[in-house]
Every structure is written in C-alpha cells, then in structure tokens.
C-alpha cells in the first residue's frame, strides 16, 4: 500500500494537469477514492496550483510593437550594410587578381623586352665585328653623321630605309 501511494503521488501532478491516459487516470482515481492521505495530497496540489494564479500577468506597454518593429528595421539596415560590405570584400580577391595580372604583365613585358634588346645588341655587335668595315657599313647605311642609336635602329630595320 505504501509503495503504491508513493507511485501514485508521483503521478498526481500529471493527473492534475490532465496528462495521464484514461486507464492510468481511472486507476489513480480509484486509488484516491480509497486512500485518504493521497486524496488529501491531491487536493493540496490542486490548491497549490490554484494559488499560483496569484502571480499576475503583465499588460503589454503601449507602443511595444512599434518599438520592436523600429528596432528590427534598424537591425535590417545594419544587415543590409553588412551584406553590401561583405559583397565588396567578396570582390577583393578579383581586384587583387586583376592587379597581379596587370603588374605581372608589365614585369614580364619588361623582362622580355630586355632579353630581346640584349639579343639585338648582340646581333649588332657581331655584325660590326664580322664586317671589319665600320666606315663602309656606316656610309652604306648613311650613318656617318648619325648617332649610334640611329644606327642601331637602322640595323634593326635593315632593308627598310634603303631609299634614304
């Protein structure tokens, strides 16, 4: 009987809250009819739950929803800015890649030009060395009165300026 009462009392809260099935409910109510102590306990629990009603509810303050919506809109603005900023940052790698390609291209162009110009210098030097007739070469190309740079250009474009 004592064990049964202990078990019953653990279920009294669920019985009070209507949370037990019909069979268990019938069993519990049957027990309560025959057990003065458990019945008293159940009545106390119901009174206790009734007493809790003394804890009042709060009225919704006027303008509460407007304030919440205003805050949400402000938050939304912040988020839009954050999204825009993040979108900008997502473009950053592309900008970096463009810059790298651009400056890399410039560098490579410079290097290639240097290499090409060195090769041309070499060709020019070997040409002068092979003729042993700098005067004739120079006069044949009309370089007598011209600078070395002009001569260099004429060598590069050999055949192109023959009419001059």
């Amino acid at each position: 009987m004592e064990w049964e009462c202990t078990r019953v009392r653990k279920k009294l809260g669920a019985l009070r809250d209507g949370e037990v099935g019909p069979q268990v409910s019938a069993g519990l109510e049957d027990h309560l009819r025959g057990c003065e102590r458990c019945r008293s306990e159940f009545e106390t629990m119901k009174r206790l739950w009734g007493l809790l009603g003394a804890y009042p509810e709060q009225e919704v303050p006027s303008g509460f929803s407007q304030r919440v919506v205003a805050r949400a809109e402000a938050l939304s603005e912040k988020r839009r800015f954050a999204a825009w900023w993040s979108w900008r940052w997502q473009l950053a790698p592309l900008s970096w890649a463009t810059a790298v390609v651009f400056f890399g291209g410039l560098l490579m162009g410079g290097i290639l030009f240097e290499a090409w110009s060195a090769r041309m210098n070499k060709r020019l030097a070997s040409y002068f060395a092979s003729t042993h007739q700098p005067y004739e070469f120079e006069s044949s190309y009309g370089l007598t009165e011209q600078s070395f740079v002009d001569g260099y250009w004429n060598v590069l474009t050999v055949g192109g300026d023959e009419e001059t």
């Binding site: 653990k10 809260g13 669920a14 009070r16 809250d17 209507g18 949370e19 106390t44 629990m45 119901k46 009174r47 206790l48 739950w49 007493l51 809790l52 009603g53 003394a54 804890y55 009042p56 509810e57 709060q58 009225e59 919704v60 303050p61 509460f64 929803s65 407007q66 304030r67 919440v68 919506v69 805050r71 949400a72 809109e73 938050l75 939304s76």
Partner: protein, 226 residues
C-alpha cells in the same frame, strides 16, 4: 483537470481576446506567408506577428524573470531573434511553437548568462513585482474586496511570486509554461528541448518546492475554505 487551454497556435485564446484587440483571420498558411515576408524584410508582416504574440512572449518573460523592465527588454530581443531567423522558419509546426522555443531558449540563456538563477533581488520581496503595478489586479479581478482582503491578496501574490522566482530556472520555466500558458507536457518538452518524462520530473520537483515555500498560504487557504 486542465487549467487553461492549449496555447499553441492560439496564443491568446486562454486570455479571451486577440492581443491586438481586433479580430483577424489567422491560419497556419497566413503564418507561413508572414514569416516568408519577414524573411524578405517586410516590416508590416513583422508588426502583425509581434502584435499577435507580444502578450504571450512578454508574460512568459515576465513570469520567468519577475521584472517588468527586464522582461520587456528580453521580449524585444526575442522578437528580434524571430525577425533575424525568420527565413529559417519551416511551417511544420504552428508559429507559436517555434516562437515558444526561441523564447524559452533565450530566457534560459539569459539566466545562464546572469550566472545566478535569474532572480532579480531588487524586486523580490518588495511586494511590488517590477515595481510598477498591482500584482493582484489580473488575478482576483472579480468583486471589489475589503481593505483587509486586498492586503492579504497582495501579500499572497508577493509570496507566490517569490516562491516561483526561487525555483531553479528549468523548473520555473516548466511551471510557467504549464500553469500560465496552459501547454501540454509534450509541447513543453518540445519548447525546452527535453523529454516528456523530464518535464514531468521538473514539475514534480517544482511542486514539492512550491509546496514547502507556500505551506503557510496553503494552511491559511485550507483553514479559510473549510
């Protein structure tokens, strides 16, 4: 015995009137549509949801924290969370269920962050919950009472409030959801992310604690009623 109707999906049914004071058709389809609009940043849809659930959320926070001002702040934060995560809402369950879950999590986290029981000592024992309103007003609203009765009601309200606020956070939340929001155990379990058995256990322990805290009132009540 059920002390209040099922709150889920009908947040103000147990209080007798819609929270915005006017009738409007409300369905799960409308909820899903409103939440989709909120997800796209529609403030009007958000306003409708706030007006629908403000009373529910505010009173959940108030009865859980025992402080008017704090509960307003917490309720605002909860609605902002709802606003921020509206796009993740899936209409598998009523919106109220989802909002309860957000609110319960937020309240429990709030208590955890405070490092104590979420108990607000400044308002406890003062006899004026939140310091701003008559604690007995909405409870014993019926006939005008004598000054002695009024005093005893206020005392009873203060004692009950103090007893509820002294409960450990999860027990208190279970009591608030069951007693004041009329939720079924399975709904409480869903909101608190635990099993139905755990909810039952929380309520049994809370009942024992409350019974000890309010033994004086229970004796008086018994004496008065017999």
């Amino acid at each position: 015995m059920r002390w209040a109707g099922n709150a889920l999906g009908r947040p103000d049914e147990h209080r007798g009137e819609p929270s915005n004071g006017r009738e409007e058709s409300w369905s799960e389809g409308l909820e899903a549509s409103l939440m989709a609009k909120i997800g796209r940043g529609d403030p009007e849809a958000f306003r409708r949801v706030v007006e629908r659930y403000q009373r529910l959320v505010l009173n959940l926070c108030y009865r859980f924290t025992g402080d008017c001002e704090a509960s307003r702040d917490i309720a605002q934060e909860i609605f902002l969370k709802v606003y921020g995560s509206a796009s993740s809402y899936r209409p598998y369950a009523p919106l109220a269920s989802w909002i309860y879950r957000v609110a319960v999590n937020h309240c429990l986290n709030h208590v955890r962050d405070r490092g104590r029981n979420g108990l607000l000592t400044e308002s406890l024992g003062s006899g004026r919950p939140g310091g701003s309103r008559d604690p007995t007003r909405s409870v014993h609203s019926a006939p005008p009472a004598s000054p002695e009765e009024e005093v005893s009601r206020k005392e009873a309200a203060a004692l009950v409030r103090e007893a509820v606020l002294k409960l450990p956070a999860r027990q208190r939340m279970a009591v608030v959801l069951q007693r004041y929001h009329g939720m079924r155990y399975v709904e409480i379990a869903r909101a608190m992310d635990c099993s139905v058995g755990a909810v039952e256990s929380l309520l049994v322990r809370a009942t024992d604690t409350l019974r000890q805290s309010l033994s004086h009132l229970l004796t008086t009540d018994e004496g008065g009623s017999s």
